[in-house]
Symmetry: C3
Subunit: 344 residues, 3 copies
């Protein structure tokens, strides 16, 4: 279950350098390439000639050439030429609205007429020289909503990530969830605690004492269709926490774009945007490597959870207060999907 | 098709040291762990909170802690605690009767009310200092009854195990099968033959001449639900065979616990108990390594046989005199399964 | 969809040296072996005793012995003996007409009564000392008809094989297709072109100038049920092309036996017969290695095309003039299959 009339992150620009990129998004098999103007295009990954995947072909002069017999298509999916053929009467293939913005490539897998670029999720830190970003991509074999649950309840850090960002105080503090229109916010504040290893390192990297009591925050925000942005950070205790002066804190935004591939798999674009030392590429890479290790810990748990749920579709799960973030996010998704099917 | 109201070997104690063990038995996904008293416990491998597999969690103070969000369960499957939660109203999960005995861990996947520890298969050689035991475990992708067939008709030794325990005289001698209540016994006696390589080695290990005529025996015993114990050995010819004085023979019991995993896969616990040189650990390991090699020869045959049968479910197979052991064993299983479904 | 009343290439003689060979042809699981006279035999790969695959057994005195319990069968699939058993009443298994000819082993997976060895495809170059042959075998996970399409339209050489036999002039020339009874012929002639790398090498190997204008031909011939023979070659320009004197040309026959395994997989026997330097084994191996590299390039395309078609069975594909060879070949196959089902 996913909304199709929505903008999803399809890939990052580095994945679209020389060859076309085949990727399935919300059950639609697509191929991405750049046209002659350098603009990203997305069409079905299915040549109308003999059904070959166009992602095995190549791009010539900004047009997509099938690698089997050379049928050449434009960014709108219409055949342009083919050796010794008149292609005017050839059927075209579907194209998808696609836009490059904020350092990501966004695609709209649903009804193209409803695609409004103004509704692409805004990333205030992107293209801002005071911020730096680093991230990565996993393919994870579970329903994307299990990943939303995971990120909207960070209680699991105390267990899954015990050696990096987990700490016992997390599980001793209940998060608070509120719904604001189509946004869900789950917040947890820890006061006067010692920073766990990941944040102790971040304090050191930022030239702050790392062995003193701190206040820590996690403010998870769900945005439709499936983005989760998490304000995270620590400040020296008593300096105002999340609102402390930058001289006393280290903070960032954990960025999660969770793009459905099929009903039971998704593309997980993860990363961190930070507001300190933006020029320090070594630091960017160091944080990226740390996150990579942390998110890999979620992977086995989520994929095995999916297997368990697939084997026991009849079982009711618990919805505790710590689960409220995921529960409310799913309600918003369900409402969007119902609107789509009602409109159809 | 398998009886569920029965004691099956689930694992050996060495598999239950530090972490909980997830294993599917008779279609039931279970997790095994030791409680605070060191007693083995078995519950469903499904956390009632969000469906995570409990086998990815850990044991703390003899309680099973889910590795995702920390729900803690006891050996009865009832929630005990969870950070910041009142768990009294939480649903529990199913627990399974489980007992450690004779060096194995036995589980009852069916109706717990009918589980009587007195009915666990007795192993007279276990815990007896005059005997030694060594063994191993395979997961084999075939119906467990194909393994019972295999072990209740050792004619195949002449083919599958031609280089170790097979010898031409085996196939020249028809085994005799008799049914005694719920037990099936298939016996084969070879007289005045030269011992094959495995038994020649065993004679040597036991300081007996190995290049002289011998009498050899194989007495296969099926016990419900799916255990096969085989008296095997050789004695110098004319000394009484199976009943010969220990000074003239070398003998043991091939131990086979055949535990269904699914309808088309099983856990095969194999080993040998021997009544000579029980303190000689090098000998134990040598025999174990020999058996490992022999049983691996059965594996490909059984898994490929399963594929053939799955592709041709309509075909009738032959039931020859050499097959009587397997045929009679299956009848007992069918009767037990019919009793169970009648009782339900 | 495949005709079963037809002769297909099952294997080459080198695959039938010591052990029996198991192989599925047109959905029939078969095992091949040589009888006491050295003649090839083919029976079902299913022992009538317990369903074990006979291909795991062995051949003794020209009879097929099951490797599980020793049931021994003849080339007609009838049980001959089994230790301690009277096999007269045992059911046999199906045998298939099979013949070794022209360096290949041919099997008839359909109604044995209709199998006439005279209808085996004739290979005039086989067993002719003026010709040499080298080839290989792939298992490819796609409908065999996609391979026929591939070979009856060599336009794809300009794309899939751009670095070896492809050249731009190919796609600029439309092939001509004609149907002659049950044979389809698709011809393409290129005049006054520079030979591509593969043919430049062949000219050099044949002591001919390779950097001069040439005429090139590709004459693809489909024969039922699924053989494609392609006359290929280059001649120095203006010497008569295909009909040029051997002193001015280098030529051969690309040999393709495309044997269905299942509806979505096939055995692809590929090779080249050449009419020059037949004694030069180094040349044979060199050409074989070149073809191996070229045909491996088709593999990914065809298997991914199959995946696309399986996901979108409802889509209509284009049938262009370049596709005529494949389209006409499929019509002949469809007619043969219709005849078979009508006759049944």
């Amino acid at each position: 279950m996913f909304a199709k009339n929505a903008w999803y992150v399809a890939c990052t620009p580095d994945a679209l350098v020389a060859k076309p990129l085949g990727r399935t998004i919300c059950g639609e098999s697509m191929v991405f390439f750049r046209d002659a103007d350098g603009r990203v295009a997305a069409v079905e990954d299915f040549c109308p000639h003999r059904g070959a995947p166009l992602s095995l072909g190549f791009v010539r002069d900004g047009q997509l050439v099938c690698g089997y017999h050379g049928l050449t298509l434009g960014r709108d999916g219409k055949p342009i030429r083919m050796p010794c053929q008149r292609v005017q009467g050839f059927p075209g293939i579907r194209s998808f609205p696609v836009i490059e913005r904020h350092g990501f490539i966004w695609v709209w897998p649903g009804d193209a007429k409803q695609a409004d670029p103004a509704t692409i999720h805004h990333l205030p830190w992107a293209d801002n020289p005071e911020w730096a970003y680093g991230g990565g991509l996993y393919r994870i074999a579970c329903d994307y909503r299990l990943m939303i649950d995971n990120l909207m309840d960070l209680t699991h850090e105390a267990y899954v990530h015990a050696s990096s960002i987990g700490q016992q105080e997390i599980e001793e503090s209940v998060p608070v969830t509120r719904v604001e229109g189509d946004t869900v916010v789950t917040s947890r504040h820890l006061e006067n605690i010692l920073p766990p290893p990941f944040w102790a390192s971040a304090l050191r990297f930022n030239d702050l004492a790392h062995d003193v009591p701190c206040d820590r925050w996690q403010i998870c925000r769900f945005f439709p269709p499936s983005h989760v942005m998490i304000d995270v950070g620590v400040a020296h205790a008593g300096q105002g926490g999340f609102d402390a002066d930058p001289r006393h804190k280290v903070s960032g935004i954990v960025v999660d774009f969770i793009t459905p591939e099929t009903e039971t798999s998704h593309w997980y674009f993860w990363g961190m945007a930070r507001h300190f030392k933006p020029q320090d590429r070594t630091l960017t890479e160091s944080i990226r490597a740390g996150q990579d290790k942390i998110f890999a810990e979620d992977r086995e748990m989520l994929e095995r959870q999916q297997l368990n749920l697939s084997q026991h579709p009849e079982r009711q799960l618990l919805k505790l207060n710590i689960d409220a973030g995921g529960v409310q996010s799913r309600r918003i998704i369900e409402r969007l999907v119902a609107q789509e099917s009602g409109a159809t």
